[in-house]
């Protein structure tokens, strides 16, 4: 028996969301009185033993180059072998883009009930239930899982990473790897910027900014806070900003520590994508803007006056010129 955590990598690097699921997996294992193991697919340049500080004791590594090409079908079969090797009864994924591709497939393959979008530890006091977000963050549901093997896909930023002491034992897993049917022919990444889904801080702006030429101050603020930038849907629809920055019901759903919304009215569809943020700051010139109802802090004022002052005050705090 064990809790198995899928350690997701990109370009051979362990993703930040993987550290969250490792911390979470370790806690689940503690609750169930068992140990946590991890699995890494593909080659990596990282020292996997160091992941032991997040509680994982043993990592199964399938260091097969074929797995550097992501194909959910191939990955699922390999993970099924890892699940067997570790005798997993609970398998944990991040509910990130890879998790969303693989976890449902593995659920079918292992006939293991899946809770995707989990936001808390399982409750084992009466069966096995896991809390997940539903209605785009406007409510939650407790999902009861009755199958012998259970799969949890944890929402990014829903569980705090804790680093302690320890090293993990890395064992090579000799798994059968099928030939991928999916061929990755091109990858484009906005280099040097913080990926929106993983960002701790997000600076977002809406139609209140009037036009794409005014985003310089948003980008400057974001850079200062090591934040990702986001926008409301009409802004992406008008091509002021790339569509992958669009947050909300029909865009990306995020849950950063801090969400700063500038010149965004706070329509319900927008809130649906950002209401899981821990702290929300709203800057809007209209005191009646609905966003203020969902905010923790707010300033009623003109973004074009407030943002430069805000940026200057943060520079002062951080001691940068």
């Amino acid at each position: 028996m064990s809790v198995l955590v899928y350690i997701d990598t990109a370009d051979g690097h362990v993703k930040k969301s993987s550290l969250e699921v490792l911390t979470y997996g370790a806690k689940v294992a503690e609750e169930l009185g068992t140990s946590v193991e991890g699995v890494v697919l593909g080659t990596t340049t990282e020292d996997l033993t160091a992941l032991g500080k997040y509680g994982v004791k043993k990592i199964h590594h399938v260091a097969n180059e074929a797995l550097n090409n992501f194909d959910a079908q191939v990955f699922t079969k390999v993970l099924a072998q890892a699940a067997e090797a570790s005798g997993a009864t609970v398998i944990v994924f991040s509910n990130n883009l890879s998790g969303k591709a693989i976890a449902p497939r593995l659920s079918v393959r292992l006939k293991a009930g899946l809770v995707s979008g989990a936001v808390a530890l399982p409750d084992t006091s009466n069966g096995f239930t896991v809390k997940k977000n539903v209605f785009s963050g406007k409510a939650f549901a407790n999902i009861a899982v009755s199958t012998p093997v259970k799969i949890i896909a944890l929402n990014p930023n829903a569980y705090q990473t804790i680093a302690g002491e320890g090293t993990a034992e890395v064992v090579a897993l000799n798994a059968t790897v099928d030939t991928a049917k999916i061929n990755i022919t091109n990858v484009t990444k906005a280099s040097g910027e913080v990926p929106l889904a993983e960002a701790d801080v997000v600076v977002s702006a809406g139609r209140g900014l009037k036009g794409p030429e005014n985003w310089g101050m948003v980008e400057e603020l974001a850079k200062l806070l090591l934040a990702a930038t986001a926008c409301s849907r009409p802004v992406a629809d008008a091509h002021w900003r790339p569509h992958n920055e669009h947050v909300g019901q029909t865009g990306v759903a995020i849950a950063p520590n801090l969400y700063i919304a500038i010149g965004i009215s706070g329509a319900i569809q927008h809130l649906a994508g950002v209401n899981r943020s821990k702290v929300i700051v709203v800057i809007n010139k209209d005191p009646e803007a609905p966003f203020f109802k969902a905010a923790d802090y707010g300033i009623v004022g003109d973004a074009f006056e407030i943002i430069p002052k805000f940026t200057a005050a943060i520079k002062k705090l951080k001691g940068v010129a």
Partner: protein
């Protein structure tokens, strides 16, 4: 080319979220039902665009749902598509629904199965992957573009901080999101035509659900916004640093 588009019925995005029966059921009082936006705007419309390019394309729509799902699947037919299939079952969990869809897909011999990114009520983002595994087909999740050349599909999907282009031979299962297609509205002709398009009702296969909803809840209300004087922006920075510990 034969396409199966998965259509689900969801509450309107502005619907009030409340629960009844001791917080075990979604309160449907006064709720307007719509086609799940991802299914309509991206999966279905992309299928229609493919048919507009190649008239030999056949589009079938499928929904797993009771009779009350019929207005929704009719509305989807009004946008486009040749026929609809309703699996006559109350929606259970994702695995149950996926099993019903996979069964119909097996019978139909489709080249492409399209789902939306996720349902906006359950937010599972799971059914596409499950259908793919049940059919033992490749799966491209959260696709933003889909192009076809003969039997080869070129699909762009979202990855953290970017995009990835995938090439794959049909058949394939794809979940669709923003970027896939331009939204359109049904016209009168479509609405009239939909009335005469076939809507088949099939009975579900026996499947055990793997999960069940034990109860719902609402997140705790926010304490209320703390407004800072626009003349004193430094105070906001202080609060974010000292009180919220967010910067």
């Amino acid at each position: 080319m034969k396409i199966l588009v998965c259509i689900s019925k969801t509450p309107d995005t502005t619907a009030k979220i409340a629960f009844t029966d001791n917080n075990t059921k979604f309160d449907v009082t006064g709720v307007q039902w719509i086609i799940n936006p991802y299914d309509e705007w991206y999966a279905l419309v992309r299928a229609i665009e493919l048919k507009e390019k190649d008239a030999a394309t056949i589009i079938h729509l499928i929904t797993v749902g009771a009779a009350d799902a019929e207005p929704i699947i009719r509305k989807a037919l009004a946008l486009g598509g040749d026929e609809a299939i309703r699996v006559n079952a109350d929606s259970h969990d994702s695995f149950y629904n996926a099993s019903q869809i996979a069964e119909v897909a097996k019978q139909g011999g489709y080249d492409l199965v399209l789902t939306g990114k996720e349902t906006i009520d359950y937010n599972g983002s799971s059914i596409g992957g499950m259908v793919a595994e049940l059919l033992d087909l490749p799966y491209v999740s959260l696709a933003t573009k889909f192009e076809l050349a003969g039997t080869k599909a070129t699909i762009t999907r979202e990855i953290e901080g970017g995009e990835e282009t995938n090439e794959v031979e049909l058949p394939v299962v794809v979940s669709a999101q923003k970027g896939m297609a331009e939204a359109r509205i049904p016209n009168m002709r479509g609405i009239m035509a939909a009335r005469t398009k076939p809507l088949k009702v099939v009975e579900p296969i026996a499947v055990e659900a793997l999960t069940a909803v034990a109860g719902f809840g609402l997140p705790p209300a926010k304490a209320g916004v703390k407004l800072v004087d626009p003349e004193n922006v430094e105070e906001l920075v202080r609060l974010l640093h000292e009180e919220a510990k967010a910067i």
